[in-house]
Symmetry: C2
Subunit: 588 residues, 2 copies
């Protein structure tokens, strides 16, 4: 059987940063060639970054991607890397397709290209276009209509892109019909909790369906609200995992494969797609002793979520040209965990914590904030807000909720002033539970460029705090988060003696309801049938429905769940629809 | 030829307000029956409101729409309206379609139903699903696969929904193949400038293709960022406009039609869709003398845009449960025009203007603000911000841009305090030109629940001001906008002697560049080829690209153009892509 050394480049491009992304491809191709790889695989749209959204509809951007693809092929050859076969994702267009209403303007295609000896030797356009969740690919791309099979050193390699694997039919079935010896899938598959298990099961199933080994390479790194977790892997048709890369780390996974020798192209009338064969004219590799590959250990749930928050925050900050962040430290759990995420993302020199006590702040709010800074080494300042609040109150004389919100907004103005003056990005510290029910002050604690906990329910915030502290202790380091911040009852401290539990159900209960309502789209009748009380259901659903306008103006944050409040949950602000809990009939 | 009196109900439902929408249908059906109408047409998804976005994926919501449709049919019959044939849009599902990845959950369908004698006599599901611009229908709906033709008093009436008319092929061609005598199209077609002309041309063309008269009924009213302008019309196969409703007004257009008598159902093998025939079993109407119908005069461009802003603002405020608005009055043109829009939307009792002078405010900023209030009768207050700014500065000592932004943010806190204390919705006063290039303070002048001028370029703001004043003068009313606000050079007044022209190109030039770049997606090379200077192009495009994060947190506003900054323009925040103007080669 022919042998092939395949390198999977799990890399972190930047959307739109075409020149830098091309350099990334070049560097890793050189590394792969140095390791003796015959075939190097890069993820979906690595050259443009992913997802490019409306940039796909800009002719000048597609032209730039096309030009960069050709230039990269030439550059690799000029640098002596032309014999290494490179598969990578880029943006192209279907020139045969005329503009028409309902067809994405300019007919862009999400494309895989094969670079060899200075030119683009083969192309494949993504066939299945996802248009759900965070994906809008039917807005942006026209589908490809043929499978590409490329003969590489005696092996027929079929190309596919991400969703091609997730949906039934199409390229996987065509790869079997074409008798492919290796199915390559290049991906931009975002992190969600537990998705690594789903992904492995899927790869096993599709390898079996294709009847050949499957090599799956994924992006890594943060792009706005998405975090790509890598998890690149190779699995054979029997479901054996031959190699698997660690989640969240940029790097290269190299694997030596024994693959079936290609015969004359098979033309199966039953193939669900036409198949285009390209022979690169490369002789099989002389037999060589294979090197062993690694299979990375799975992370715990907390470890994976933590890594997603850290990488999402780091890449948002850095890719947007910032070097540091500033955030309010209240002494509470949310700001403490946000600070710890920022610490891991940017180091202590990249984080400024500001304690902004008011007359309603407890003494522990200041000591706990100070304690966090002392444990972590981040910069720490105290800006009492009393004089500023008083200046507003002398004119406005606000009371009640308006007075509570005033304090939160004065803090927002302080943080933005420091941001403008010193160049830090402001982090908002709100969590998903608060944001769901609107327990947040718009233009107050909602101020910020990025919100690391936006998709993290309150109960998970506590779990992450305990996990991070335990992990530090296990490494012999100082746990970053004060125990008192974890243990104290949550309070916004905007009026005397205020507790979150004055306004909200117990967080464990609240998170259960929200999980059913938001992640699973269950209605009120189903929630009540699940055993939640009708009053609780009505109260939580009403708060949640009414808070859409606040969520819409909240900063972005890293997505870790099926549905977050970024672009994948899209609700009208103006809406008369209120889920109502069914009530028992009144006694006759 | 059979006669038919057809009533087109151009009405204003609320998304999710199913009970109220059903009442609306009932009231207008009673009105139509009172006018002797045989057939009443209501717009697309009138029963649920449109667009419902993610509500479509909630089983409980689809169930509620289904139940309400059946209940409405029964209610109409119980009230003696069962003989009037009613066509309306609602939300249904395809029960035969199983859930699968890539298929909208629960297989919702955008559906037209025919109500007659207490039941749903026929159904048609939208065939062409738009997934561009403001539309995401491939996320939410599965397409219908058959045309419905309903025999109503001797006439074969074919049903279609909105996009079915805009895209080639499908229901229109099937209506001709089926020999339909009347093609009904129910619509949720949002306003854009000059779209009324496009719409009329389209209706004429499709009526000719279908070979029969076409009745087009559209929604009216505001829903979040969309404004539906009505413009319902009836056109015959020769292109003659038989009736046309005024844009933006809720009401009923009634027309008497002579239509071809239906024969046995035609089964044309060439039909692009299967055709389902339903005969309601109603005899043709005895001959009667037809009444004349009206054809509304077209509005001027300024009048149509003004109406869209007023209705968009009115409906956003009222449908979200507010009765009044508060906004900052700077004496400048943007706040003056925003106040005039609010005045027309809510009346003088619904508008509170707040002058918030700082040490940098000119004397005319106060007198012009006062003049506006005096002309219009809106409430007027003065809240000097000096003491509040000083309180921040004693601690923070900000300078430069940070100090400028501080003033804008203090004003935002004042407005939100008044909003929380008194229950007004805050209006943001920024225009599209400023928002495009990021000339706006996030959490400052960007504070608000709604932004009436969000999609209005600065040059159009001036045109609208002049138009509104001239229109008032022509009616013998006091022009609302002070001439001085129109004539003075624009300034943010955040530092001594500041003018917008210090930071931005002349607005006429800026708006030309932005129009090409945003509305037409032209690249920098094309802009330079159009004659703009490379320096100007680079400067404007760079500012525009970098401002995406600010635009993302800006409040919604009524859409009047091809592409606004709401959901139809979707760009990554993190992006290395910067359009660059091509430069001449340096001299060798």
């Amino acid at each position: 059987m022919p042998q092939l050394r395949v390198a999977l480049a799990q890399v972190n491009p930047t959307v739109g940063g075409i020149d830098g992304n091309a350099t990334l491809v070049e560097q890793w191709t050189r590394h792969a060639a140095g390791q003796g790889a015959h075939l190097v695989l890069f993820p979906e749209m690595v050259l443009t970054g992913y997802p490019v959204e409306d940039l796909a509809l800009r002719r000048s951007f597609v032209d730039a991607a096309r030009h960069a693809t050709d230039a990269l092929a030439a550059r690799l050859a000029a640098q002596g890397l032309g014999e290494t076969v490179v598969v990578l994702g880029t943006l192209d267009r279907d020139d045969a397709r005329a503009d028409a209403l309902g067809v994405p303007k300019g007919a862009p295609q999400n494309t895989a290209v094969v670079l060899h000896r200075g030119r683009v030797a083969a192309r494949y356009a993504k066939h299945h276009l996802p248009n759900y969740g965070v994906f809008d690919e039917q807005r942006y791309f026209v589908p490809g209509r043929a499978l590409a099979v490329v003969r590489v050193r005696g092996v027929d390699v079929a190309l596919s892109i991400c969703e091609d694997l997730w949906q039934d039919g199409g390229p996987v079935a065509a790869a079997r019909a074409a008798g492919a010896g290796l199915l390559v899938t290049i991906n931009g598959s975002p992190f969600e909790r537990d998705k690594d298990d789903v992904r492995l099961d899927l790869c096993r199933r599709r390898a079996a369906e294709a009847g050949c080994t499957l090599a799956y390479v994924n992006l890594v790194g943060g792009q706005d609200e998405l975090v790509f977790d890598g998890d690149s892997l190779v699995v054979d048709a029997q479901g054996t995992v031959l190699a698997r890369a660690p989640q969240f780390d940029e790097g290269m996974l190299t694997v030596d494969l024994d693959l079936p020798e290609a015969s004359a192209p098979t033309f199966d009338d039953g193939a669900p797609l036409p198949v285009e064969h390209v022979d690169l004219g490369l002789a099989p590799v002389p037999s060589y002793p294979p090197s062993p590959s690694g299979v990375a250990l799975a992370r715990s749930d907390e470890s994976a979520v933590w890594a997603a928050l850290v990488i999402g925050t780091r890449d948002y900050v850095r890719k947007n040209g910032f070097a540091s962040v500033v955030l309010g430290l209240s002494g509470g759990i949310d700001s403490a965990v946000t600070a710890a995420v920022a610490l891991d993302a940017l180091g202590p020199a990249g984080v400024v914590g500001v304690s902004m006590p008011s007359v309603y702040s407890s003494s522990h709010s200041r000591t706990d904030a100070y304690d966090l800074a002392a444990r972590t080494g981040i910069a720490y300042r105290v800006v009492p807000i009393g004089p500023m609040v008083a200046a507003f109150q002398q004119t406005l004389g606000l009371s009640g909720l308006a007075e509570e919100n005033l304090q939160a907004r004065v803090r927002g103005v302080v943080l933005m002033g420091l941001s403008n003056a010193e160049g830090h990005l402001v982090l908002a510290t709100g969590n998903k539970s608060e944001l769901s029910v609107g327990y947040s002050t718009i233009y107050g604690d909602a101020v910020g460029g990025f919100a690391p906990l936006k998709d993290v329910p309150k109960t998970l915030v506590w779990e992450l705090a305990r996990w991070r502290n335990a992990d530090a202790a296990a490494r012999g380091q100082v746990p970053p988060i004060p125990e008192s911040s974890i243990d104290k009852p949550p309070s916004a401290e905007l009026r005397p003696g205020q507790l979150d539990s004055d306004s909200l159900p117990d967080y464990a209960l609240l998170d259960d309801v929200l999980d059913d309502y938001i992640e699973r789209d269950r209605g009120s009748a189903e929630l009540v049938a699940d055993g939640f009380s009708p009053d609780l259901v009505e109260r939580v659903l009403r708060m949640t429905d009414l808070a859409e306008y606040k969520r819409r103006q909240y900063p972005p944050g890293p997505k870790i769940s099926v549905r977050n409040f970024g672009r994948d949950r899209r609700l009208p602000i103006t809406s008369g629809w209120r889920e109502r809990a069914p009530r028992p009939e009144p006694p006759g």
